[in-house]
Each structure stands twice: as C-alpha cells, then as structure tokens.
C-alpha cells in the first residue's frame, strides 16, 4: 500500500458517515483533542450548521453544552449517534474570527475588553450551573462581525487544558477557569498595557488558587472599575498614579475650576490697574 493510498484511507475512513441523518457534509472546520468540527448543511431546515463528531465516550459534552443557554455560548440544535458509533452534535455555525486572529487585527482596547467581558459572563453563567470550561484559550473564543462573542469547546473530563492557559492546579475547578480567563485577558491586552489591567490579569493568574478572584464576576467588576476610571482591587497604585487618574476622571471639573481661577486672577489685575 503506497503512502498516498494510506493517507487517503486515513482521511476518508475518518469522515463521518451521515447516512440516515438530515445533514450533508461540506468541509472540515477544525479539530481538537476531543473531536473534529465540520461544516454541514441541514437539508430539512436548509441552513448551514457546525457538526462536531466525537468519541461516543465523550458524548456527555453535548448534553453539557445543551444545558447552557446563554448568548455567549454556541447553541446546540441536536445530538445523536452516527452509524459508525461515534457521537455528534449539531450547533450554530458561527461566522467570525477566532480571538487570536481578532486581536491580530488590532481592535481598540474597549473592543478587546468587551470580548473578555462576554467570555467572563459566559463563564460565570456556566459556573453557576456547576459546569467548568477546562480549556479556555483564544482558539476557543469566536468574535463575530457584529462584536458577538461565543465561547466554544466546553470541557469534558478528558480535557486537561492547553499549556500556557492551563492553571498549575492539581485538579481543575472553577478557579482554574479564572486562571485561564486572566491568561486570556493578558493575551488580548495591547503593548504597553495599562498597569491596572496587567494587575487584574496577574491576580487572576496567581499560582495559589485562593489568591485569584473568587469568581468570574469579581474579575469583570475589576475591569469595569478600570473602565470607569476607578481604582481596581488588584492593584495598590502609587499616589501619583492616583492623582493622574483623579485628573483624567474629573477633567471637566478641573478645567472649569482652572478657568474660574484664571478669570478671577484677570479681574483682580484689571482692578489694580
């Protein structure tokens, strides 16, 4: 058997057999440790979907995600088993860019933080239902053309995270997701990044889980404080930085005071003359 025939067999024997389903295979979109995602057409509803094919032992992933109805979590349309015994689930086909490619397009700081906030909201929602992601990384976040954000590839027990984004925890839990969210924040920040945001990311990435934010919402609240020009919890800023922040936050008031003082000064001199 030649190498080319072998490679062809390896490829075609892995293709999902969709006979008996409502789907028609179009192309492969990507693959991860847990399965392969294909673009497919739903013949009954005449729409394109993303079809994830995975080992039957991991089929719980579909049920897991189907429970999570949130604007930032890709909705699952249907789950099932293929004739070859593998499990599949059909979900919304998200068009947009992966977070790493989105950031490469140099969006504004507000847009970057907006994406992180959406991811954090999805995490908080999932955590409240006892679900952890386990493998949060830029490749698992999609940003749509209208700024919508989707967190994908929600974890199953077999997932052990991706080096660089995986917390150094012996056992993955919600705090491990907070670590990954901090890593994600550090990833999207421009260079140089505001020190307050760097501090937020650093706190979330603390080696000690107890030193991290207690939840995704606490991290988001700190980002919100930064955006409103308030002091963030993660950083004890120096006095001059506090002064500068006060200045930029109350710029209008300071300008009015300065103008008032200037006019008074002018009037004082006019009276002397």
């Amino acid at each position: 058997m030649s190498d080319s025939v072998l490679d062809h067999l390896r490829r075609v024997a892995a293709l999902p057999d969709l006979a008996g389903t409502r789907y028609e295979l179009e192309s492969e979109l990507g693959r991860g440790g847990m399965g392969v995602v294909y673009a497919a057409r739903d013949r009954e509803l005449d729409r394109r979907v993303a079809l994830k094919v995975l080992d039957l032992a991991l089929a719980g992933e579909a049920q897991l995600i189907a429970q999570l109805e949130h604007p930032a979590i890709v909705p699952v349309y249907e789950t099932g088993t293929l004739p070859d015994g593998r499990a599949f689930y059909a979900m919304k086909l998200v068009s947009g860019a992966r977070l790493d490619r989105y950031v490469a397009g140099r969006p504004s700081l507000a847009s970057r933080l907006g994406a992180i906030r959406r991811v954090g909201e999805a995490l908080a929602f999932a955590h409240a239902r006892g679900v952890i992601h386990r493998d949060l990384k830029p490749q698992n976040v999609m940003v749509g053309e209208f700024g919508e954000v989707y967190v994908m590839d929600w974890g199953v027990d077999a997932v052990a995270g991706t080096p660089g984004f995986r917390a150094p925890d012996a056992r993955l839990d919600q705090r491990s997701d907070i670590y990954a969210l901090g890593r994600l924040l550090a990833f999207v920040l421009p260079v140089p990044a505001p020190p307050a945001l760097q501090a937020i990311a650093a706190r979330a990435m603390s080696a000690d889980p107890a030193a991290r934010y207690p939840g995704a919402l606490a991290l988001l609240a700190d980002i919100e404080r930064f955006q409103e020009g308030l002091a963030v919890e993660a950083w004890s800023e120096p006095w001059w930085h506090r002064l500068r922040r006060f200045g930029s936050r109350n710029a209008v008031l300071l300008w009015l005071l300065a103008a008032y003082a200037g006019v008074k000064f002018l009037l004082f001199f006019l009276r002397i003359l």
Partner: protein, 231 residues
C-alpha cells in the same frame, strides 16, 4: 432501492469484538494475543530494525523473528504497564533494547567491536527517522489487515459491488475515477456510489478499530491511538 443506506442491520455488525490486551491477558489467552500482536507489528519491527540498526534484509528478518520468539518465551505482555506508555511505544522500546543487546553480544564475539555496518543503500533515501518509519509501517499494516477483514466481510455477505467500487476509488494508485464513471461501469445511480463508498469506509473504520482494540490496553489507549490515526 438502495439498501446500503439503512443504518444498522446484520451486515453492519462486525463478526467479533476483540478483547483488549489486558482483558485477554486476564482471560489467559496470551498466545492468541501474541498472534494478533505479531500480525500487526512484524513489519513495523522489521522496518525499525533495518533503519535503526542498519541491518540488511536477512539480518533484520532474523532479528525480528528472534525478538518475537523471545517475547513469546518471556512474560512480555505481563510486564506491560499501560500507565507508563502506550503498547506501541512499549513494544518499540522493547525492540530497541533487544536489538541493542544482540548488537552488544555480537560485538563481544568479534573481540573488539569489529562489527560491519551494511551500506545504507535504499535506507539512505528515506528522510524518516526509524521511529517515524515504525509508526508509518504500523499504520500501513493496520490498514492492510483491516482491508483483508473488509474483503472477507464483503465476500461473506455478498457485497461485491460495494467492495469493487471502494477498491476502484479509494485504493486507486493514480487518478481516481469519477463517481459518474463508477456508476456507469456498474450500472447503478451515482447516489449509490456515494452510499457504497460510505458503507465500505464505515466498515473499514470498524475493522481498524477492532484491530486496534485487540492490541491496546483498554478504552483510553484505544481512544488515544484512534486520535493519532485519523487525519
């Protein structure tokens, strides 16, 4: 009517489910297990020895034969610990140790290490490392055995057209015929060509899985091997 699109059915079932290595060892079937291991690994081991130790054809065959004979005699399977490595890695490392010890013995016999290396010849043409060649050969052998299973299965259940279409399309060495050409050749609709190919590929995949199941320690290793196998 095209019956191949039906899901399940008697012809979609595999003749047997092979026990995993550990299940077989527990059940006390080591010779049967070793037969499976030898069928799948003889050629990869032979190729690995040729490249790694620069052996000529006959020496590599002898060494491969000696390795499996020694594995049969010793508690080769009992010493396999799936927590430490996959069976494939365990076997390759065992081959390496065995061949190295044979090499050392030959060295001693020749008093001073006057061991002659074979000219590289055809081996120099490959850019693959011995480890890569071992894995590649393992894949090739796995699919070759699964193809034999598929052919036997098709003969047994009267699926000759499916097999002919599969062989003409998926095993074509050069340019593949179009679905329309295959449909015309066999006097069937083009959709049937699609269905026959899907059926044959699914059955082939099943046999590959079965062969793998019989030469891995359990579901976890099987999953990992499957993940490595599919492109």
């Amino acid at each position: 009517m095209d019956t191949d699109t039906a899901i399940g059915g008697p012809h979609d079932r595999f003749p047997s489910t092979q026990p995993s290595l550990l299940e077989a060892a527990v059940a006390g079937l080591p010779s049967e297990v070793l037969d499976r291991v030898v069928a799948l690994y003889w050629k990869p081991v032979y190729r690995f020895i040729r490249l790694k130790f620069r052996k000529d054809n006959e020496d590599a065959k002898d060494l491969t034969q000696s390795f499996f004979a020694a594995a049969l005699e010793r508690d080769f399977l009992a010493r396999f610990d799936p927590a430490r490595a996959s069976f494939r890695t365990y076997l390759r490392m065992a081959v390496e140790r065995f061949a190295a010890s044979q090499y050392a013995a030959a060295n001693r016999q020749k008093r001073g290490g006057d061991v002659r290396f074979e000219p590289l010849g055809e081996q120099a043409a490959t850019t693959e490392s011995p480890e890569q060649a071992f894995e590649r050969e393992w894949q090739r052998q796995l699919f070759s055995l699964a193809l034999d299973d598929l052919r036997a299965h098709c003969d047994g259940c009267g699926k000759q057209i499916q097999l002919l279409i599969f062989e003409a399309y998926d095993l074509a060495g050069g340019e593949r015929p179009s679905y329309a050409e295959l449909a015309m050749r066999h006097g069937i609709p083009e959709t049937s060509v699609t269905n026959h190919l899907a059926w044959a590929r699914r059955i082939l995949r099943g046999f590959v899985t079965e062969r793998l199941r019989g030469t891995t320690s359990g579901p976890r290793e099987l999953r990992e091997e499957m993940r490595r196998l599919w492109i």
